[in-house]
Assembly symmetry: C2
Homo-oligomer: 193 residues x 2
């Protein structure tokens, strides 16, 4: 998606440790007009599929998912919660996700009420790097018996391989910008096309 | 706002300890059509004011704020982050907020890049009870020299008094549903009109 790539080039900054900061428009300050265009792009890509629900994970995915939902007939958006601890009362699907940014595992939960066997789910998130968070969302869908119809990502760090592994596993991953390489010294960012 | 009150009556549940669960449509599963109507209601209420930015706090406020922004000329949405610890490198405005739900204080941060003296800010959040989170957001705006133009809230628990204290302090608080009383025994919810 040219608009997103241009914004990353203009406003993104590359930091050491494979960090790409795009908090000017994506995950701290949010450009909702861009989010709307991103939703339109995913709607075009996934046009042949029946989507009954969007599932994302707090916090950065929520705004993007809510803006995107307008392009999918206003389907409900469910956001998985990063919990302090797993509640064992049985009314939640739970998994754990390893965060490389935070260097620790954290529990992720979704209420059983909001993810069901009849759901055809589009997963949405702001970033895809190693794919750990998405694997967690996929596991929650599997536990619920829901069908993952596709995965919409804003920025994929292609060189970290998580997206390609999901594609190899048969998932339809639509990343609107795939960073092939980035250099913290020069700030140069190259995209896959 | 009649639509929101009806949803609370139909799908909200009252729990012990002054807890009102509305996660079916507001803060776990999100009804973006409702969020759009909420944004329209705030746009009507704050029509006379110049709003250049919406500030909310992760996680539940984000989706509501992003849907509402469409009714405020797509102004940027900034969400304050709940941090693990306060970063002292000086590029963030920081405060602490006491959470009654979690019974502890947590740091809240916003990058200095995204809150400025020229900003005329609408604060948005899903809930207003004691007002601690909003006081934190107001403090961040004060530190940045930004002007708080108003506060848009989905559900105010009027009996906890935080909203009225903000109004006494001169803030224009527009809560779309104000719960005057609720009873965990009977499930009965009464609204202020």
């Amino acid at each position: 998606m040219q608009e997103l790539e241009e914004r990353i080039q203009a406003e993104g900054t590359v930091k050491a440790g494979d960090v790409l900061k795009v908090d000017a428009f994506l995950n701290h300050q949010c450009d909702v007009r861009l989010f709307d265009h991103m939703g339109a792009a995913w709607a075009e890509h996934f046009a042949g599929k029946t989507i009954t629900k969007i599932l994302t994970i707090e916090a950065s995915g929520i705004g993007i998912a809510c803006c995107a939902a307008r392009h999918f007939n206003d389907v409900p958006v469910v956001f998985a919660k990063k919990a302090q601890s797993i509640n064992l009362d049985g009314d939640q699907y739970t998994t754990t996700v390893y965060s490389f940014t935070k260097q620790k595992e954290f529990p992720v939960i979704v209420s059983k009420k909001y993810l069901n066997p009849g759901d055809h789910v589009l997963l949405i998130d702001d970033f895809l790097a190693n794919g750990k968070a998405l694997r967690g969302l996929i596991e929650l869908c599997e536990k619920a018996g829901a069908t993952v119809e596709g995965i919409g990502i804003a920025v994929e760090k292609g060189f970290q391989g998580g997206g390609d592994r999901l594609r190899e596993d048969g998932y339809d991953v639509d990343s609107l910008a795939i960073v092939e390489s980035m250099d913290p010294e020069t700030g140069k960012i190259e995209f896959r096309h």
